[in-house]
């Protein structure tokens, strides 16, 4: 199992939720995981129902069996000052650079430096060891940028290493790239059973592969329960409306005669079934499109009550059941 698990996906697919559930699942049975947020949206804090995370690794959840999930929201500016201090002993120069606006430049405008810092910090956490030589974190899970930007984001160090041909940044970029392109890393993509996210997933995988980045799994999120099956949907097209009215009436929903309550339910219910049928067909197509990608495919259910902390544990449990963690 790769120690750096990167989770990406199209916007709106719930990649932060999946990343958090994965961190929780991987922490089960006494493991320590670090959940890293790189987009500054404080999505992790909201999921775990805690206050906003500072730029500091802190424990945010315990997993069944004594495991721990720690979380870190990376602030690029602080990460840069961190680096300058830690690796280059440039603390005072760092402050001077900040005064000049160079830090701001580096983290917001300069090509890719921001992304270098974010990936660099995550890789540092992957490699970090304690005094006894054990890894501090068994796994690092990254809530990464969306699919459209993931390859560029992860590959930025290659590009930077090409730009800065010598010097500490060059070395740093190369070291990060060695981790990202090794089996130590797996990039997972979160999708939905809808056309656009599936298309984007396929495109994203092609890009990742072209950049020789290790693609992991496809996780289909928010899968709605199958209420009617193909036979039902076939039957619903032919069944007389009066039969349904009668059945509704038998269930205690009013009279079955025309204009009575049970009968009045028939049209709206059939309209909903028609919509369902259309979606059923679309989902079927998208599922087989995802199947053709040749990657392990997993599905997580839509939680009827919406996403909350209990739901997160439920999804983590589901991931373990499916052997992802």
């Amino acid at each position: 199992m790769s120690r750096l698990q990167v989770v990406s996906g199209k916007g709106g697919t719930g990649k932060t939720t999946v990343a958090a559930a994965l961190a929780l699942a991987l922490a089960t049975e006494g493991k320590r995981t670090l959940l890293v947020e790189v987009e500054g949206r404080q999505g992790i804090a909201q999921l775990f129902e805690t206050e906003a995370l500072p730029y500091e690794e802190r424990k945010i959840a315990v997993a069944p069996g004594g495991g721990e999930v720690h979380a870190l929201a990376i602030d690029p500016e602080l990460a840069l000052l961190d680096y300058l201090q830690m690796f280059y002993k440039m603390g005072s120069a760092g402050r001077a650079l900040k005064k000049l606006g160079a830090i701001d430049f580096a983290t917001t405008i300069a090509p890719g430096l921001r992304d270098v810092l974010l990936t660099g910090k995550a890789c540092e956490a992957v490699r970090r060891k304690d005094r006894s030589g054990r890894f501090v974190y068994d796994y690092v899970v990254m809530d990464a940028p969306p699919t459209g930007r993931i390859t560029r984001f992860l590959n930025v160090n290659d590009e930077v290493a090409g730009l800065a041909k010598v010097g500490p940044i060059h070395n740093q970029a190369q070291a990060v790239m060695r981790v990202l392109k090794s089996p130590e890393t797996a990039v997972h993509l979160v999708s939905l059973l809808e056309e656009m996210p599936v298309q984007e997933t396929a495109d994203g995988i092609a890009e990742l592969r072209a950049a020789r980045l290790p693609v992991g799994r496809v996780i289909v999120n928010m899968v709605r329960p199958g209420v009617l099956d193909a036979a039902d949907l076939e039957f619903v097209r032919t069944v007389p409306r009066t039969d349904i009215a009668r059945s509704l009436s038998a269930a205690g929903l009013g009279g079955a005669r025309r204009g009575q309550n049970a009968e009045k339910l028939v049209n709206p219910l059939l309209a909903q079934a028609e919509e369902y049928a259309e979606r059923y067909l679309l989902e079927h197509e998208q599922r087989s499109a995802l199947g053709e990608l040749g990657l392990p495919l997993h599905e997580l259910p839509l939680l009827a009550e919406g996403m909350d902390l209990a739901g997160l544990y439920e999804l983590a449990n589901e991931l373990r059941k499916q052997g992802i963690a």
């Binding site: 001077a96 010097g167 009045k264 709206p268």
Partner: protein, 458 residues
């Protein structure tokens, strides 16, 4: 079949509805020159922008839609699947108006700025600079600058009377607002002077002290970045030096353009917690920046034609149908299966209105047309499925309503246009037109769900 509007008990459950966002007057008003669609990723921003553009064009305006990263089939539906960074006229528009559409190519946009503002020799030097090549190829932030730059360009051409802009799927959704400012603060900053310092060494004697400090700085930067990169950056900055003034001016002008009365911001969201939280953040940010907010477009709202049947009741009825058939109910008892028509207390107690003949086939007859127990069972099973489906829909409705109410409570001043959910994606102009109709339909409350549900099958 539509529920009696006089009885809308569900309506009472809602907070007093937010103001309704009436989009047609906004689209028709000649004063409206720019519409900016913003919102978090995956809420249908691009589709909304395209649908609004199409609708405005078909209502007679000359429109250009600037999309940032449209899904392939949406782009194809507008004929802009080739990236040439120029607006192309969309064919198949009804009426007098015109629709043009383009997809942003940020590298090309950046190159064009360089070519337009530097002499050919200098332009060539910039375009071949490795630092420039990385910068323009789309690192974080560039897309936002270029989207704003392109908007400024399109506006300056005075060719269109309405520009509809989609915004980039940024990590922070308002990066595009910050982009001009950030660029400005960078250009004003000392860093530029430090980077330019080596080129200016040997200036006046009075500058000498300053230059010592600066070369120390460049020393530190060189150590960090590596000498070659620093040199590339310096060459780039030096070459761009003459253009910075222009950059700055345009960035400021674009920012002012966004605040101008002819601009309308639409925040796009879906009735989901995260999307609406982002939307609330947008609303607050836009207010803080004095940007004119027209309202919220809420996509993918679900309705139900049977909204008076609660989820709980539907589930109970479904269980009822699935279980009790253990007791053998032979044929000929169908009449007994007819329950009293009292499930809805808001309805006048049913004194069985005479059953009007329905498409030639009468409903249940009291003599009880004998039904085959097997087929009856499968009809019951199917009906139970329909009820479960309905229960699921009602749960979804309740969840959507809760998230929506939370937004409305926080921002009651924001006008809302709701768009009913479609089962599939949009692939053609007809689909966009349909979305446009839904956008303008102007019926935000759910009790008209009947209409939506039956439309939903389109």
């Amino acid at each position: 079949m539509s529920p009696d509007p006089a009885h809308a008990p569900e309506g009472a459950r809602h907070l007093s509805p937010a103001r309704v966002l009436d989009l047609d007057p906004l689209l028709d008003d000649p004063q409206t020159r720019i519409i900016v669609c913003c919102g978090s990723g995956g809420v249908g921003k691009t589709t909304t922008a395209a649908a609004l553009g199409l609708r405005a064009a078909e209502r007679g305006r000359k429109v250009v839609v600037l999309t940032i990263d449209p899904a392939r089939r949406l782009a194809q539906s507008m004929g802009i699947d080739s990236l040439d960074n120029t607006p192309r006229r969309v064919k198949g528009i009804d009426g007098e108006g015109e629709l043009h559409a383009m997809m942003l190519d940020m590298k090309r946009t950046f190159d064009e700025i360089v070519e337009a503002h530097a002499d050919p020799g200098r332009a060539a030097a910039i375009l071949s600079n490795p630092f420039y090549q990385s910068l323009s190829a789309g690192f974080a932030g560039t897309q936002e600058y270029m989207a704003m730059e392109k908007l400024g360009q399109l506006r300056a051409r005075h060719e269109w009377d309405l520009i509809v802009v989609d915004t980039p799927p940024s990590r922070s959704a308002l990066d595009f607002l910050d982009a001009p400012k950030r660029l400005g603060s960078f250009l004003d900053g000392k860093l530029i002077r430090v980077l330019l310092a080596p080129a200016k060494v040997g200036g006046r004697a009075g500058m000498k002290f300053l230059n010592v400090g600066m070369s120390m700085m460049t020393g530190a930067l060189g150590k960090l970045l590596g000498g070659q990169l620093l040199k590339d950056v310096q060459t780039f900055v030096a070459a761009m030096d003459s253009m910075f003034g222009g950059f700055r001016t345009r960035a400021d002008a674009t920012y002012k353009l966004l605040q101008a009365p002819g601009t309308a911001f639409l925040v796009v969201a879906a009735p989901e917690r995260d999307a609406l939280r982002e939307a609330a953040y947008f609303v607050e940010r836009l207010a803080a920046e004095d940007m004119p907010l027209a309202g919220l477009v809420l996509n993918r709202v679900h309705g139900s034609g049977a909204f008076r049947l609660s989820a709980e009741r539907a589930l109970a009825a479904a269980e009822n149908l699935e279980e009790p058939r253990i007791v053998d109910q032979g044929g000929g008892k169908a009449g007994l299966r007819n329950s009293p028509d009292t499930y809805d207390s808001s309805e006048s107690p049913a004194s069985d209105p005479p059953a009007a003949p329905d498409e030639g086939s009468p409903t249940v007859t009291d003599d009880g047309s004998p039904a085959d127990p097997d087929s009856e069972r499968s009809v019951d099973q199917l009906t139970a499925g329909l009820l479960r489906l309905h229960a699921e829909r009602m749960q979804l409705l309740a969840r959507e309503q809760r998230t929506r109410d939370r937004f409305t409570a926080l921002h009651p001043e924001v006008a809302v246009a709701e768009v009913a959910a479609l089962p599939g994606d949009v692939h053609d102009l007809a689909g966009l037109r349909d979305i446009g109709d839904r956008l303008a339909a102007n019926r935000p409350e759910l009790p008209d769900g009947e209409v939506r549900v039956s439309d939903g099958g389109a």
